[in-house]
């Protein structure tokens, strides 16, 4: 209750919704229990888990959810509860992201050996609205060819990106598009499907 | 096969020693943090390999906790360098 009132006071736009403190409890508990099952798999005789472990995991998940529900579901945004988004995320990490990462490593290896760099920081427009999609894009381009996220404009969600090898001409633009990074796959389209 | 894993750990240990050169040489604090972060990553890799060599799962468990805790440490030092705390 204290937490809720604090939030309302500072954001000033949300109304009190009955059950607002209870609904975040469920996804947090399910997520905590899934992580617990993943960590203890292979230790028992009932399938791969033992009954005492399952009971302990359920108790711990309830405690963890009671403590951290307001942190885990801070924006009251439940779009990631959709399993389709998790499947797309898994496909995204295994196929386009991993290929780009391999490319990035060959690229950095080439630059380590030859020393040919042309670095600089550019402003990149993303057009995303949620925190999670900006986080995913920032982490993705940090691990993919020639780019490293340095800063973020919190109002427009634009990223400031350090590029190790800027193509001549790109540095003249005041705002760079995501198409100007050296990628075969279109990351923003993938991330829009996962988190927008 | 144990020899192969041992050799890999030795190579990683050599790489950690090389990285320490950057850690001591600096020249600026962020450079040292970068080197520290590299040492942490290589340590996690060697802990996973130790888990194979000694056939002990606890090494891998420690590697998970070490990865997460070193991340917290890196974030804290970065916040300090950025002038947001301390």
């Amino acid at each position: 209750m204290i937490n809720h009132d604090y939030r309302c006071e500072h954001e000033g736009i949300e109304q009190y919704v009955p059950g607002d403190d209870v609904i975040p409890f469920i996804p947090t508990a399910v997520f905590a229990f899934a992580v617990y099952l993943l960590l203890t798999a292979g230790g028992g005789d009932l399938g791969v888990w033992s009954p005492s472990e399952l009971l302990m995991g359920a108790v711990l998940a309830v405690i963890a959810a009671a403590v951290s529900r307001n942190f885990f579901c801070k924006n009251r945004d439940y779009r990631m509860a959709n399993p389709v988004r998790w499947i797309i995320l898994a496909v995204y990490v295994v196929v386009p992201f991993f290929i780009e990462m391999a490319k990035a490593n060959v690229d950095v290896a080439y630059r380590v050996i030859t020393g040919r760099i042309r670095p600089g920081i550019v402003r990149m427009q993303t057009g995303f609205t949620t925190d999670l999609s900006v986080l995913l894009l920032a982490n993705s381009i940090t691990l993919t060819p020639g780019t490293l996220t340095v800063g973020i404009d919190e109002e427009t969600n634009d990223l400031f990106v350090h590029m190790i090898n800027i193509r001549p001409g790109v540095e003249e633009k005041s705002v760079v598009d995501t198409g100007d990074i050296n990628a075969w796959f279109r990351f923003p389209a993938w991330i829009r499907r996962i988190a927008e | 096969m144990t020899d192969v894993w041992l050799i890999a750990v030795m190579v990683l240990a050599g790489l950690i020693v090389l990285t320490l050169a950057r850690l001591f040489a600096g020249p600026t604090p962020p450079d040292r943090v970068v080197a520290l972060d590299t040492v942490n990553t290589l340590t996690v890799a060697s802990m996973i390999l130790f888990g194979v060599i000694f056939r002990q799962i606890v090494f891998v468990d420690v590697a998970i906790v070490y990865a997460l805790l070193s991340f917290v440490g890196t974030l804290y030092i970065a916040k300090y360098l950025g002038g947001e705390i301390g």
Binding site: V112, G120, T149, H162 | T28, G51
Partner: protein, 119 residues
């Protein structure tokens, strides 16, 4: 035999990229380019070392059916995923801190972030 060969290849690739990352840290001129070398290559190298361990664990699991190897494989995957995620975020934190503490990219053709701050 094939399993051993695959493990050897994965380990060799992992060690190669880790070595390149360390050489990059020693060679590159400023903190941002060093971060490029650090995040990309050491993360990728460690993912391959993790893959070698996963292949080992799965081969032992299918050979003996021992539940311990399942735990071992899953924990290795979790460790590698945690490492990849925290490395990217940590690199971002270090780059941001370096820029806030007044360090500018030393050889640079453009710096839009500094322009924004001066306004």
């Amino acid at each position: 035999m094939i399993v051993d060969a695959v493990i050897l290849i994965f380990l060799a690739v992992g060690l190669l990229f880790n070595t390149l990352g360390v050489v990059g840290i020693l060679r590159f001129p400023d903190v941002y380019t060093r971060l490029h070398a650090e995040t990309k290559t050491t993360t990728f190298g460690t993912i391959f070392i993790g893959l070698a361990v996963v292949v080992y664990g799965v081969s032992r699991l299918s050979g003996s059916g021992d539940g311990e190897y399942l735990t071992f494989t899953l924990h290795t995957i979790i460790a590698v995923v945690a490492l990849a995620f925290t490395n990217a975020t940590g690199a971002h934190a270090i780059a941001r801190a370096a820029h806030r503490s007044g360090q500018r990219p030393a050889p640079a053709v453009v710096d839009r972030l500094a322009e924004v701050k001066e306004e």
